[in-house]
Symmetry: C2
Subunit: 301 residues, 2 copies
């Protein structure tokens, strides 16, 4: 499964919980990493372990990597913009032949724009957002949905194979992000549907734990029912995926829907629910805690 | 798996595609059936094959079955009401000790009311709606969610085991129907979410078939994505589950939600979509054809 990155010089920008685990896998596969992160503490810690060198800016990453690969693992589109643009940004310093691999969830329009900007500098962009969360990052079992030119995808593949198991080339630039949006819309609305169903059961004195079990294996079965349904039944909202991140992705989905001339009433209703849940102070809980929005309606009577 | 019903006298009312397959399993397990159906053709056909005797009314089923079991497999609450009430209805003719097993999807309030009416006649009701469709009925692999008194459930169990594989006693009278509503709400909204996601992909020139494959195995994975998503990708809307039946169940879900003092905006939006889809003439297609509601928005541009 592990790609051979022996001796490859790879830039890595964004060392949060996901990015850090991914950078360590690349190092373990033999890559020589140049790393940069807004908060410096994690950079110093990783460099102490060897196999990684610190860069003090995106510009320095670009200069040190030359015509190599630069991975971005950032939390949102505005962070990608900050890394790309400005005097110290990648666009101003990228070298010809470099390939940027954006593994965060970034707006489709911004992705296509940055790809064009990089193309005009004889470099290019692969969008390669992931699904599978921190657990998938640690286990190198992420699902990766990639967009970009075929040759760039082939070039990125050994690196992606070091990080994930299910790697699909979805199409041209932005296609990976479109697929990620599709993923997040389904996740967000399925959590909502399961939360409604379990609440309706509880309001009618039927045990939600029994309902979850009875539905598993039938047409209502899903990874969300199995995993997030269990969290809802047990009231265990220690975050895997935080609700604030879910809100961010559903907002990106809403934007893409509007840009595509479409209008999905369930997406809008679901977005409103995430906003209400977070306004109620539950944004740092796991996204399965959306059920509290409904359960509170029972308790209040 | 097959329960031993040798010699048991069982009434069976409602011999549609589901009911007919179920009645045949009961006969094959040794039961002696007394059958009744609004349309007489299927009754004559089944009686020709042996092991079943025709009754001309619900009253006659009650009289012939005596203190035995009577299965109802009807399409909606109004059909159950028609069988229960009136001069020729079960309530007027049921004998003490009889147990009615309602395997259709019937409103929770009506279920509880009929249970009380039967109790006052020293008989009783088990609500035992099923999931798994015609395929599950034919294969005797239905999931069955039962509500009612423990002793009645135990009494019905050998019969239920002849028809299904996953049989759960959910609680008191109506609890099986509450669980079925939970099931149908999740199915209806997940179909909607998958339809939105695949449409968003297509509107952005990303292949929906690739999206479905990339999402399988991740957090967006579900039985609906796998099976109904495949129908959507292939445009194959030959009915398994017809959209008109889905609308009926979502309406029952809306009613139960309102009776429970709850308000789910996604359920209301989803109900509206089924109404629009059926108004557009697609009611007899498989429920996965909901995607046509969205795809038409792309084509119109």
């Amino acid at each position: 499964m592990s790609g051979d990155l022996q001796g490859a010089r790879v830039g890595f920008i964004g060392l949060g919980l996901m990015g850090r685990a991914m950078a360590e896998h690349l190092r373990d596969a033999g890559a020589s990493l140049v790393i940069h992160n807004r908060s410096r503490e994690v950079v110093e810690e990783l460099c102490r372990d060897g196999g990684m060198a610190a860069a003090s800016s995106s510009a320095e990453v670009a200069q040190q990597v030359g015509s190599g690969l630069i991975v971005l693992c950032l939390t949102q589109t505005s962070a990608v913009e900050a890394v790309m643009t400005g005097d110290d940004g990648l666009l101003a310093h990228i070298e010809a032949g470099a390939l940027v691999i954006d593994m965060g969830t970034t707006a489709v329009a911004a992705t296509r724009l940055f790809d064009q900007e990089l193309q005009s500098r004889k470099s290019s962009l692969i969008d390669a957002p992931v699904s599978g969360g921190q657990g998938g990052a640690r286990a190198a079992s992420l699902s990766i949905m990639a967009g970009g030119a075929e040759a760039d995808f082939e070039r990125a593949l050994p690196l992606l194979q070091t990080l994930g198991k299910r790697i699909t080339h979805m199409g041209a630039s932005g296609a990976g992000q479109v697929c990620k949006m599709a993923n997040q819309m389904i996740v967000a609305q399925t959590i909502d549907a399961v939360a409604q169903a379990l609440t309706l059961a509880r309001a009618n004195d039927v045990d939600p734990a029994l309902v979850r079990e009875a539905l598993m294996g039938g047409f209502a079965d899903s990874r969300i029912l199995t995993e997030h349904g269990k969290r809802m039944v047990e009231g265990d909202f220690e975050p895997g995926g935080r609700a604030v991140c879910q809100l961010k992705d559903v907002r990106e989905g809403r934007d893409l829907m509007e840009q595509s001339g479409l209008d999905f009433s369930l997406l809008r209703a679901n977005l409103h629910n995430w906003e209400n849940m977070i306004a109620a102070g539950d944004g740092d809980l796991d996204h399965s805690a959306l059920i509290r929005l409904y359960e509170n309606k029972i308790d209040r009577e």
